[in-house]
Subunit: 211 residues, 2 copies
DNA sequence: AATTATACCGAGCGATCGCTCGGAATTCGA
DNA sequence: TCGAATTCCGAGCGATCGCTCGGTATAATT
């Protein structure tokens, strides 16, 4: 049972070390998977021993939840801001993709864990909050596509499939992305955005000739 | 240590029951994940007890490998045939996507396991063969895109990114696909194929105005 | 300086893990 | 029909799992 220190002078150090523990765990989970990573491995990764580690976390499950919380909340806030703004939908799509891919770049380990341990998150009931946040994010994405459709910017034969295709390509990105590689987050975001806008361009040559 | 029966009359039954074990394991792994599924859970899923189960498999790891082998080989054969044929690249793309998505539909559990346990497959050296087969499949996909580019059917700004986007959307499909749902494999394959062909259409309106 | 909260250690707990093995029951080949 | 091969059982092995707890050292507060 962990308890944050009540003495304010220690709180900052506690939070900092706690975050280091979470990040180290995210790195380990991203490489070997959550269930395949023993707490002994976490001890080696953090440099702590059992007693020390459990000073910062309650359970190993708790650690996974902390990783997901730390990841989702800031991205969800960015997405809400973009969605609430009155920009044209195609600009909103580009903005949210940039925010998303930059988030992947900045929190690569967290994202890999979040994707890889999907069956854990989808399973038990106490992951409900995380699932709800994921769904809210996907709903905002869908609404952007819907607005683009309504305003005649895009012509989408099957919006559900378009959304799932977009989710697929972005969610797959953490598995191959290398920081400092040929493509950075912005280039990938633009690539995906162009892909979607071109594929569903309302004024496409073929868009109007289909039965 | 398992040993296939030398008496030919029993070989058929042995193979059939062995496949049942593999399929049951695939179903369990797809739902809860490989490491989260205990052998005890596999015993319940198969109806066997420990001794009986290990009559058909060597180790739990072996079971995972069998699932992947059973999955990849037939799809790889189909892909090789399509790739070797002389159809126009846009037709090849559609054919390989149909084969791929039909394979996902027919072996949904296996595909989910194959995607979900990626870090197991990418990790240890004895998974080298599986990795090589995956890479061959992806290489054939890339070559189809390359041929489409060479023949002027598609204009792809970044072929690597286009390939990764396609891999992403297809590999993500097993996570949301429901057999008997609104979309079947063929419709999804066509949706993805149209998405790619439209996005990178050589005669697109915007394709020629980019800097 | 005395007191108390904090930080961390590390042996070891009970539970569960993957798996073994001797044997019983059944089936096939001769 | 009989011996051998096959199929499956299930108690239980050693190892590892996540985690606890009594203890010591250090730090902040008074």
């Amino acid at each position: 049972m962990p308890s944050p220190p009540s003495r304010p002078a220690l709180r900052a150090r506690y939070d900092q070390r706690r975050r280091r523990v979470i990040d180290a765990a995210a790195h380990a989970f991203a490489q070997r998977g959550y269930h395949a990573t023993s707490v002994a491995a976490l001890l080696q990764a953090t440099g702590l021993t059992a007693g020390g580690l459990y000073h910062y976390i309650a359970t190993k499950d708790d650690l996974l939840m902390l990783i997901c919380d730390e990841l989702i909340d800031p991205l969800l806030d960015r997405a809400r801001a973009i969605s609430a703004a009155q920009d044209p939908p195609q600009d909103q799509l580009r903005e949210i993709l940039h925010a998303w891919l930059e988030h992947i770049e900045a929190h690569l380990d967290h994202m890999r864990v979040f994707q890889q341990e999907r069956h854990v998150i989808e399973g038990e009931p106490h992951w409900h909050e995380i699932r709800a946040k994921r769904r809210e994010f996907e709903r905002m994405l869908d609404e952007i596509l819907a607005r683009a459709q309504e305003r005649g910017v895009m012509r989408i034969p099957d919006r559900r499939l378009a959304l799932l295709a977009l989710l697929g390509m972005v969610n797959y990105t953490p598995q191959w992305f290398h920081p400092g590689g040929r493509l950075d987050a912005a280039q990938i975001a633009d690539g995906y955005c162009d892909l979607m806008l071109e594929a569903y361009a309302a004024n496409s040559l073929r868009g109007s000739e289909s039965a």
